[in-house]
Amino acid sequence: MLRDRLYDGLKDMEEVYVNGDLEHRIAGNLNISFNFVEGESLIMALRDLAVSSGSACTSASLEPSYVLRALGRNDELAHSSIRFTIGRFTTLEEIDYTIELVRAAVEKLRELSPLWDMYKDGIDLNSVEWVAH
């Protein structure tokens, strides 16, 4: 299945989380969080693809998806989510192209991310006193 091929091409990356259950889900859907990479910035890097951050119902909002929150994801991972939907006409080549594009974009954005640096330094982000805004 193309969805599984997409997930297989991404799952060995560090700090990747599938949102929702892999068995009990719509066949062509993969909603996935790349920790320390903000979803909208990832979408910008994937301009050749039609993807969405969060779930379909919240893509126009800046708030993290309440569906992902209800699934037990914290705000950070909900902000770092992206949704791929595979269509009837999606090809194998397009999936492989997507895998390459996503891997490169996540790597680039993690190089930009202060949270990635902190994670690599072994800092527990929950122990930091953030200034909410």
Binding site: E38, S41, P114, W130, A132
Partner: protein, 125 residues
């Protein structure tokens, strides 16, 4: 959402990404929160003459947040601390043509400058 040319340029070619080695001459500001979807870290290196010689940033956030922080690293260089503190979010928003929903990104960038200056001044009282 349509992004301005300048936001796209800063997003694709971010200026001054990185980390300055921490010492007495470096001020570091980190603002925002992961739970809110953006965190900016801005560092300034101040010379003996009180002029900002170098600036680096790292940002977790949307393209507009990345562009705002990239832009201010360019703007603060060569300025005194007082001059840098005068940079206003409205200038950042105007330069990048940010839509209303992204104004908070420019506010965060202004806050990051203030936090970096505060940190430097605390270290060098």
């Amino acid at each position: 959402m349509a992004y301005s040319e300048k936001v796209l340029d800063h997003y694709e070619n971010p200026r001054n990404v990185g980390v300055l080695e921490d010492d007495q001459s470096v001020g570091t500001g980190m603002v925002g929160a992961p739970a809110c979807g953006d965190v900016m870290k801005l560092q300034i290196k101040v010379g003996d003459d009180g002029i900002i010689q170098d600036a680096k940033f790292k940002t977790y956030g949307c393209g507009s947040a990345i562009a705002s922080s990239s832009l201010v690293t360019e703007w603060v260089k060569g300025k005194s601390l007082d001059e840098a503190a005068e940079i206003k979010n409205t200038q950042i928003a105007q330069e990048l043509a940010l839509p209303p929903v992204k104004i908070h990104c420019s506010v965060l960038a202004e806050d990051a400058i203030a936090a970096a200056i505060d940190n430097y001044r605390e270290k060098n009282q």
